[in-house]
Symmetry: C2
Subunit: 364 residues, 2 copies
DNA sequence: GTGAAAGCGCTAACAA
DNA sequence: TTGTTAGCGCTTTCAC
């Protein structure tokens, strides 16, 4: 039978000191004599002590605040899901005295981000979760956080130089490659593929470029000579030149597939495919948003790659909270699997995501 | 600022009784007067009390034993993964005084199952996790458990009449439909498909039949008249008639795809596909076993449907443990999403499954 | 520098 | 039928 884990009390006895002293060396709070320190450490590493995190959280009366910074979720289903994730995590972590507050900003307005981020800072959070979709604006904010020694976690978009505690998201290059694979599958002969970016500023959105690169690389490997790729970029919903170019692309008889690089764009592109009666063209897009689901069901869309915004947000909160209250070290990079959704496994995803356990505490 | 959760003490005060009494009604341990019961319940449902599970587990000094019954994992990678899951859950739950012991049996030997199950029973477990792959043998065991009022959870295979606390697994009919979709994708013209069952006794394995039904139904809907389906069943590795029939099938010029219904069979079928130089034939199989992964990488296999044996086992343990120590009610049916693995998203799955949080406590 | 002690929210044994 | 109390393993305060 497995034996009981050793407790602070045990090592205190073994070292001939009080539990207070052991606690002090455990958290290097100082105020402990050379001698005691040595004795405790000796006992410590021959007994391999694992703190009981449960008891730790109960015993500690400290409150923690986590600020979550993300684009406004009204009128945006993708960020709506992320927001949902945060709302789900909220009541769960409250039991551990972790308070989560969301600060939302307009992703098209730098000033809005600055406002939200300074509000977040003013609340003196112990940790920050952030979707850094405005590259230029977030950078000074990171610096600010670093100066104040506030740990922060990135999700959705990675900024490698940020020195964040953790990044949670997907490998976008491989996401693009996967899209390429799904687009090519079973296609024969010559032809062309379209890559669509919709309503995103490509200069600020390296992430979409990464997807396109992955897509292009895969196609180039699979069909070195026979296929061409057309990339279209809609800058805003009133961009008429896009509409014309798209109409032209869709009228090509050898068009074999369309890849849309974002979840919002997916809906737009699907709409046009339907309008032009191009149901049979292979189409790959992103995420289980309501409209996308409808297009997947009626066969306009063939594959959706699931970015799991909700779970990303939850994981982000969990990562911070575990770090703060349990002192758990975070994975520097937490890449979610690239999940493929089709009309036939869609339901199994929907049924499952509804209610799913939120808090994740690893006791190790 | 979110307010503190209400505690037992709070509702005791509000109801004008002691915390002991509240605890009694919370766990309906009886010994509480009509009057007190009513008052406590009133306070209870107007204050929506959520117990602090952390404190609960700390406070309870009870030990729990969970027995896990599953096929021997030596020489079987699929069950090896399930076993791994159990091993992962072990140390995590130990902190909550839950002891997990695995009892393995030879899936081809009824007597072996009986031996393992009676051993498990003798350990007087508080809960049992079981992969009921031997339909006939498990039934009396379920009865035995029910008589002793020991809760049990099924995973991998569902037996609806078992009256289990929960079933954890996938919807196999839809798994088959998904396989059908993936097999058809991009295929044109007439042709035939093959369904392969390898080394499983179909009489005892309704689950494989469910997959085949899903597959057939999907194909019939998609191609009502143009495609035929051939079903082959290998009863043992020395079944020569199978080899001949398979060779014949593979030599058909209009063979468009192969669906293998089990993870072990997947490897076998892939081997033959490679031997016969039929790399271009669409092939769909199951699970991220080492060999299957290799065949996926080199293009013999096109899709693997991921049954997540490891996570199923972990979820099963979590379900039982949460039920036992936290009195959480379990989902009667916990269907995992049907995950699609291709050569391009494979790595994202492998990287992710390595180390992933195990314990899942929902505080709600 | 150190130890003793209170308390986190809960369970369970024990008195009353 | 009740209320009281002693823990669970840890943190944190406070006196020595």
């Amino acid at each position: 039978m497995a034996k009981k884990p050793v407790r602070i009390k045990d090592i205190a006895k073994a070292a001939g000191v009080s539990i207070g002293t052991v606690d002090r060396v455990l958290h290097n709070r100082g105020n402990v004599s050379e001698d005691a320190l040595k004795r405790v450490n000796e006992v410590l590493d021959k007994n391999e002590y694992h703190p009981n995190l449960i008891a730790r959280s109960l015993g500690s009366k400290r409150d923690y605040k986590i600020a979550a910074l993300l684009p406004n979720h009204l009128n945006d289903d993708y960020w709506g899901l992320a927001y949902q994730g945060i709302e789900l995590a909220k009541p769960e972590w409250l039991h551990y005295s972790v308070h989560i507050v969301a600060y939302e900003f307009d992703p098209d307005l730098a000033s809005s981000f600055q406002e939200a981020s300074s509000k977040a800072l003013k609340s003196k959070p112990d940790g920050v979760l952030i979707a850094p979709i405005l590259y230029n604006e977030t950078f000074p904010f990171f610096k600010n956080l670093a100066d104040k020694a506030i740990p922060f976690v990135l999700f959705n978009t990675n900024i490698i130089e940020s020195n964040a505690l953790s990044f949670i998201g997907q490998d976008l290059y491989h996401s693009g490659r996967l899209a390429g694979e799904l687009t090519c599958l079973g296609q024969t002969g010559e032809g062309q593929f379209g890559v669509l970016h919709v309503d995103e500023d490509l200069n600020d959105s390296i992430h979409l470029v990464q997807k396109e690169n992955g897509f292009r690389d895969f196609i180039a490997e699979r069909y070195p000579f026979t296929h061409t790729i057309v990339s279209l970029n809609r800058t805003s919903s009133s961009d008429f030149s896009f509409k014309k170019k798209l109409a032209n692309l869709l009228s090509q008889p050898d068009l074999k597939g369309i890849f849309v690089s974002s979840s919002r764009g997916t809906e737009t592109a699907a709409y046009f495919l339907k309008e032009y009666g191009k149901k049979e063209i292979r189409m790959v897009g992103y995420d289980l948003l309501e409209k996308n689901i409808a297009y997947l069901k009626n066969g306009i869309i063939d594959f959706l790659i699931h970015q799991k915004p909700q779970q990303q947000a939850i994981e982000g909160i969990n990562c911070l909270a575990n770090h703060l209250i349990f002192k758990k070290e975070a994975k520097r990079v937490n890449l979610f699997p690239l999940e493929v959704i089709t009309s036939q496994n869609l339901e199994s995803y929907i049924a499952n995501q509804a209610e799913h356990t939120v808090i994740n505490i690893s006791v190790k």
